[in-house]
Amino acid sequence: MTVLTRYLAAAGQPNMFDPTPVFDEFANPDGTVRHGWAALLEGLDEFADSDLQQAQRKVARLLEDDGVTYTPGPATGSSILDQQTPVDGDRTLAGAVPWKLDPLPLVLDDQQWAGLEVGMVQRSELLNAVVADLYGSQQLLRERRLPAAAILDHGEFLRAAVGLKTVRTPLFMLAADLGRDTEGTWKVMSDRTQAPSGAGFAMQNRRVVSRVMPEVYQDAHLHRLTPFFHAMRMALVDAAPSHVEDPRVVVLSPGTHSETAFDQAFLASLLGFPLLEGSDLTVRDGRVWMRVLGKLEQVDVILRRVDSTWSDPLELRPGSRLGVAGLTEAVRQGTVSVVNSLGSGVLENPALMPFLPDLCQYLLGEPLRVPSVDTWWCGDPASLSHVLTNLDSLVIRPICRTSGRSVRGSALTRAQTDELRAQISAAPHKFVGQEVLRLSSAPTAAGDRLVRSSVVLRGFTVRHGQSYRAMVGGLARVVDETDDQRGALVTAPGTGVAKDVWVVGSEPVSTAPLPSVAPRLESVELVPISSAAYSAAMVPRVLSDLFWFGRYAERAEDLLRLVLATRHVAVETDMDVSSDHSLRVLLQALTHVGASYPGFTDPDVAMMPELRSMLLDRHRRGTAAQALASLANAAQGVRDQLSDDVWMVLADVDRALAALRSSPQDSGSQLADTSERVLSGLLALSGITSENMVRDPGWYLLDSGRGLERALQLVTLLRVTLNRVRAPGVDQLVTEAVLASSESIVTFRRRYGGRSGPQAVLELLVTDSYNPRSVAYQLQRIGTDLNNVPTTQQTSRPLRVLEGLIDGVRSAELRSLVQSTDGQRPELDAFLGGLKEQLHALSDAIRDLYLKQEPGPQPLGRSGAYSGAGR
């Protein structure tokens, strides 16, 4: 018996305790399989318990490799009953958590899907008409077809957006969360219109599932997601102000800490439009521009993933650092299209639901096709009394999401119920009661078996010509049956486990416009990327992230090489850490190079714990873990610029660190093993960046960052190891470790044979411009890099500083520099110290010329006085 047939058999069992069982997506009540699932059932006909577990592991691994995460927001867990502090300027959130995906998709037969699809398209047209009216003639309010209180006292009704005549189609994209009742009827539980998220996750889910079950995927006759993204890209171009010929489209993101950062970045790269943050844009002449390499380029369309209120600190939310000052005015001037339009979040208002059937008849002249869940708006006295009487059986939702999450009446204590009643009675128009859907169930992997989990489907539509087009598929999520909060928190994004959604036909589905060659399965689903749009994203923030990507990658790499070289010496010297012995010298060098003081400069520090900390402690300055975390952070900021392989490498590095973390009793072998694995990951990263990245200004800055960091690390290392004359045996081991960690020991032996000494070391590692590990080589490399950035001028400061550095290295008198007095080499120390200082100056000069971002916005007149109150 396979896992699926067992599920089927169990689903067919009558349950005497539950006369109206929930609708199961897979099994008919008679124990047969529903339409559409046949291919899956056949494809998995030998799918045993162990295969199921293996599939789950593979899914997790692929998601990890792609760096797919979700970042829970501050409000994810807090309900309307929690103490609310209004979300203020600080939107720093908890860390990202891995995205969870079930290997088994939710399968829907395309015959029944058709009805749902028509319904979602209709709903989009309806909501578009509603929002156009609310920000336009307001006839619906005037004629009392919608209660004014539910709109005017909604936090997303933006008065500054009323009368923006230039907005043609306010609703560009809709996401609707749907659930199925016991009869099998789909009902809309909530609408997402602010800045709908999840389309990127849906595509990512598809890519992973298609790789885990390639045969089933191929045989399933399933509709592809790609056409949706094609349509979306076309619609974005179409959304441009009418006079623009070749519009520039950008994706505006709140940044890498936002809840759905992955979704945003993935979508941006799928569409081939640059992923920008508010600080990358500026308003001049009533137009929006992006800052590209010292000049401004006009932006015509903004796919907005920043909530409306945060999009403009001038007119919408004072103090927001996520927006663009003047954006509202630019929209008003008709020079830019923002989609979804500013203020469209007012549609995420469950109070609209009871009115939609009539509105649909009135505005579109047809009945509403897909119903909403039964909803009672408490602003209506009869509904209020219904809600207060039936609190136990309802979900109570605030009309505005920013007021907190919904609660399920039955899950409350007596005191909480009283508190809720009081809240509702104080401002009834701000709440609705909604029926708790007994959601349909779908087979979901849990360990070695399939369980029945409740499923919610997020469907998407996007503007298409004069109407809308739906994604044939979507983002499904399953939630644990036993979770009593189910229904209340069910629409929290990122909660539960995601499922791919397969809409399958009985015939093979036409995939006509797609390329015939499909080297990798998932590439069938890729939208071709416009390279022009890519190279255009060279805004200072992006360049800065790439520069620091280079620096942190090199920093971590150099640190690990030194750890490994030190470990080698430790083994050679039987861990002799007594003072002035080679191991002690190298350990101290490690501390100096990382600047992770006090570290080994403290004579009493224990070696293993300190070394572990150097590798694992990401909250400590100068550790490899910190460099790696900063590397990952820089990479997040430019996810749309990097190949997927980068994430695979970073995932591998994380796994290596986790292995060390999980062996606290390690005496050194795991440490060495982890260091080697991390190092090889970083080498792969270096390969990816040098072999797979387009040579655009971003790449040149990344490479200059690498060169600069390598030079800095090397100079520091040489300075703390060659500064003194030690016993010959000690010096020998230290020198070899320095050369080994600089990847130059083989060359050194070949060139200098047995003769060694500081002068030869300096020759090879500082002045030899043919050694790709030397300081001289890095300087040349940086020069080449910077000269390839189009805006660089010969008189610019970085090149002048660089010139001085090159001169200094070229004219160094190594013989006299290594002279010692009383066992010290003061001249060498001064020389290397000077280099270090100049390298820092070079870094600053590069920052000022290429990477500098505007200061953040501040309010005009910060005194807190009323402007005009005077006196």
Binding site: L141, R142, R144, A148, A149, L152, D153, R159, A160, V162, G163, T282, V283, R284, D285, G286, P313, L314, E315, P318, A325, G326, E329, R332, Q333, E854, P855, G856, P857, Q858, P859, L860, G861, R862, S863, G864, A865, Y866, S867, G868, A869, G870, R871
Partner: protein, 296 residues
């Protein structure tokens, strides 16, 4: 009927260069049944590279500007000529029992849905329980709305002391009730909150008060600066305007510029600057005097 010349200057000084100033201002007096704006000009120094004007959802004139020239001083000067006439209110409408002046219970009134906008808490006006307790004293059952609102105004005037600098833009209504001091914006917010706590529509009005009083009359508080007062919706009678700072209904000395739910909807000048500078100073001066050749 009086014609005034109003000059309103707002000046900001910064410690260092400001590389960009974006601003929004509400400085043009409205055209109303009892008021006509005859001329209006605003000068921004340094000169703004963009200056756009539109009418907001309440019908106020709202302007946007952007100064791109680096500066350490920004000056916005508005000069307006405005004619203000006496205003008559329908005594029958003012006699409406206050319970019947709540927009939510007057679907028969075509403008009730718009007045409803002024019955909710707004960014700077929350409606704590205390404000209701304070306000409801004046609203005995069936009392005419005109009389009750006027008494609320009298009480605020009597209970609160005008003291500039005692509050900031972040002072909340609850704080005012404890402090018992404030400036005209605060008194307007407080009164608006009181009206709203009872389901009435309370509107915040931004404007000016004649600087030089007519001969023999005392100089009014709130001149020399922007002034603020309150509108209360009267079904079938438009809005009743009350000035709690001066304990009187508005008259020919009041020039109306803009209205909204509270100060944050209609500040005379607000904006966003981009600078490394840490400190700034603001100075405001207002002069409103009868125009020399038009006084009657």
């Amino acid at each position: 009927m009086t014609t005034y010349r109003i000059e309103h200057t707002t000046k900001y000084d910064y410690e260092g260069d400001v590389t960009g100033s974006y601003g929004v201002f509400h400085l043009r007096p409205r055209d109303l049944d009892w008021q006509t704006c005859l001329a209006h000009e605003v000068v921004v120094q340094p000169e703004a590279s963009d200056l756009f004007r539109h009418s907001d959802l309440y019908g106020n004139t709202k302007s946007y500007f952007h100064v791109t020239k680096p500066h350490t001083e920004l000056r916005i000067t508005a000069v307006s000529m405005v004619q203000v006439r006496a205003r008559e209110l329908d005594p029958a409408a003012l006699a409406t029992p206050w319970e019947q002046a709540r927009p939510a219970v007057r679907p028969d009134q075509p403008d009730a849905w718009q007045a409803l906008d002024f019955t909710f808490a707004s960014p700077m006006v929350d409606i704590p329980e205390e404000v209701r307790s304070y306000a409801e004293v004046s609203f005995t059952p069936g009392r005419p709305i005109g009389e009750a609102a006027t008494e609320l105004m009298h009480r605020i005037y009597a209970d609160f002391t005008y003291k500039s600098g005692s509050t900031t833009v972040s002072t909340r209504v609850g704080d005012l009730l404890r402090l018992r001091t404030g400036v005209c914006q605060d008194f307007a917010h407080l009164m608006v909150a009181g009206l709203r706590s009872l389901g009435l529509a309370g509107r915040y009005v931004s404007g000016y008060l004649a600087t030089r009083p007519p001969p023999g009359k005392p100089r009014l508080v709130g001149a020399d600066a922007s002034h603020a007062w309150v509108g209360c919706w009267i079904p079938g009678g438009g809005w009743l305007y009350l000035d709690p700072t001066n304990n009187r209904l508005t008259n020919e000395s009041h020039a109306t510029v803009a209205w909204g739910r509270d100060y944050s909807d209609v500040p005379p000048v607000k904006g966003v600057i981009f600078t490394e500078a840490k400190k700034s100073k603001m100075k405001v001066s207002v002069d409103m005097a009868p125009a020399p050749d038009s006084a009657d």
